[in-house]
């Protein structure tokens, strides 16, 4: 008799970042982000749907639904029809419903020349989603009659998915030593009056990369460090305008893509955030001093050994025997509270820069620019995200607050430095 082949388990647990994003999920909040490509031609929805249908099987990590087990959430393959491409809407990054829309945790939209992909953060980080998106765009262009070769970051959709693409890289690289960060001070929350549910105010700024690089260089910093410093200054000015008795520190959460330090082809989460912080209670900071502080902090804290020790602690936390045995319905409120205390309270905003979006030269003439939106925060304050493509840097502020002061201070600072900025927004007033 032929031996039974050992059946591959058809479900898998979330990675430790995914555990967090799933447990803070609420009726009115989900951790969602969006990438968009503005093409040079109007989008053909039928071709886009054909491309989605072809690409989804190649990316099993995105073709999943999330289920609630007794102790943890888990992911299992989703064989339901879809996901279907839809006309875009004015309020992107809506919360997901685990049991609706056939359980899909990725969404596809089109509007004129723009193709958008929205991803629930428990599935993948920006780097994994961009690989998925790049492949989708390549297949879409092929469907419209353009010849795009494999390689250059485009995965071959006729190959079976590689095992390494599905690995939990945190567990793979977790070490022995654990580094516990101390209790972080509450940061200035940078909130304003909340818009009615569900509204997401999105403001995008476009500027030339070379100009930006030149200015950043003048301050002795990289583009990411320079933009983080401009954002911190904008938030500090917001706080100063309120004339607080005791100003709070202003701190950013900046996700670092760990693949640069720990080689992995994973398409799931593999990021860690660092926290540059400035305390205005200590006195005035000139802009050059803010840039220096962010620059040196980033260089000092982004290193293999420390980052490994930090995520080892996170892996140990989710692997903790005691925590394992608490039912998920009880664990969620606790995780949600600890998220607010540890992952939201000490930060004024998140700033993420997935960097340069590179495509094979055959694709480049068909894509005009790239955009990124970091979805709503757990409170009405804006998050900031940027992505560059060719010579266009795109920076987005998105949040559920009414105020546009943060983005106004941010972009006018760039204009004063001599960088031309073009602004687009979905705000109606």
């Amino acid at each position: 008799m032929p031996k039974h082949k050992k059946k591959k388990p058809d479900w898998y647990p979330l990675d430790n970042a995914g555990v967090l994003y799933a447990s803070i999920q609420k009726e009115k909040y989900s951790a969602i982000y969006r990438f968009s490509a503005v093409m040079t031609e109007e989008v053909d929805p039928a071709a886009l749907q054909r491309a989605v249908d072809q690409v989804m099987p190649r990316f099993p990590g995105f073709r999943v639904r999330i289920k609630q087990g007794l102790f943890w959430y888990y992911l299992e393959p989703n064989d339901a029809p879809g996901p279907f491409v839809r006309p875009d809407i004015a309020n992107p990054c809506q919360p997901v419903r685990f049991k609706e829309d056939n359980g899909w945790l990725v969404r596809f939209y089109y509007y004129r020349r723009r193709i958008s992909l929205e991803v629930f953060h428990a599935l993948s980080d920006g780097s994994g989603a961009l690989t998925f998106f790049r492949t989708l765009l390549a297949v879409y262009l092929r469907e419209t009659g353009v010849d795009i070769p494999e390689g250059g970051g485009v995965l071959n959709i006729h190959e079976p998915p590689a095992r390494e693409e599905m690995e939990d890289a945190y567990s793979r690289y977790a070490g022995k030593k654990v580094l516990r960060g101390g209790w972080q001070k509450t940061a200035y929350p940078n909130t304003s009056e909340a818009e009615p549910f569900y509204t997401l105010n999105v403001t995008m700024g476009f500027m030339p990369v070379d100009k930006l690089k030149e200015v950043a260089k003048r301050y002795g910093a990289s583009i990411t460090e320079y933009l983080a410093a401009v954002l911190m200054q904008a938030i500090m000015e917001n706080q100063a305008a309120q004339r607080p008795h005791r100003p709070r520190p202003v701190a950013l959460a900046i996700p670092i893509n760990l693949r640069g330090w720990f080689p992995s082809k994973t398409l799931r989460n593999f990021i860690l955030t660092v926290r540059p912080c400035i305390d205005p209670a200590l006195g005035e900071y000139t802009f050059q001093e803010i840039v220096d502080r962010v620059h040196h902090f980033m260089r000092l804290s982004v290193n293999r050994q420390e980052m490994r020790a930090v995520f080892t602690g996170n892996v140990r936390f989710t692997a903790n025997r005691f925590l394992q045995l608490i039912p998920v319905v009880l664990k969620n409120p606790v995780m949600s509270l600890s998220y607010r205390l540890v992952a939201a309270r000490p930060y004024s905003a998140t700033y993420t820069n997935p960097g340069q979006f590179k495509v094979p030269p055959e694709m480049a003439p068909h894509i005009q620019r790239m955009e990124v939106i970091l979805g709503q925060a757990t409170r009405p304050s804006p998050h900031c995200a940027s992505i560059s493509y060719g010579n266009v840097m795109e920076i987005t502020f998105a949040g559920t607050g009414v105020s546009s002061e943060t983005e106004r201070r941010f972009f006018t600072h760039l204009v004063k430095e001599g960088i031309p900025v073009r602004v687009e927004s979905n705000r109606t007033k």
């Binding site: 004015a90 419903r97 609706e100 106004r408 972009f411 204009v415 927004s425």
Partner: protein
Amino acid sequence: MSYCVNCGVELDDTAQSCPLCHTPVLNPNKPVDMWGPKPFPTEKGEVPPVARGELALLISAMLVSVAVCCGVLNLFLRAERAWSLYVIGAAVMLWIWFVPPLLLRRLPVCLRLVLDVLAVALYVFLISLDLGGGNWYWHLALPIILLGGAIVLGLALIFRGGRRSILTTTTLIIGAIGLFLLGVELFVDRFLTGSWQPGWSLIVVTVCVALMIPLVIVRRVPSLREEVRRRFHM
């Protein structure tokens, strides 16, 4: 192309005002493009509500199961007393409290309160059946439950009309407690002696009124109200 005169950023041709500082766009050389396509869709998407049918079903199944099991057990264990009515009544009450609000998203608060009060009345009625206390139920328990329900309903109606200051809220709640206890003594007296001789409830009412007087004064005098607001950040 137009630029914002205030912040110097280049704007979209369709922008009527700057999205950063909300300064209107006034460019005689290039009027705002009112009909061109906007950079983002203008159609808003609805977020579907979370389905709670499953939870309602689960709660219903659990309560029915408890009620049936206890009812059956009652036939064999101490069958001379209808003790299972306590459990069944509690199950019915809990069901009315929790399941309709899960199924009917737009259930008005007042209707929900009426249902909740009726559920309590029903539960106490089942208890009175076991204790053979039809008399005290109709003359004492039911009036008190209905009075309490009416007062809570009244408060809910008052508070529904928007945000009240914490002073008004406190005043009204203290007043409602005084009124309720006055009613309780009225029904107790009429049940026991047939006539109303206000005693202990008058003391409670006096205390309540005494508590309310300073609150009303503070609420009425603007300078005092401002002072309280400053001291307590209300």
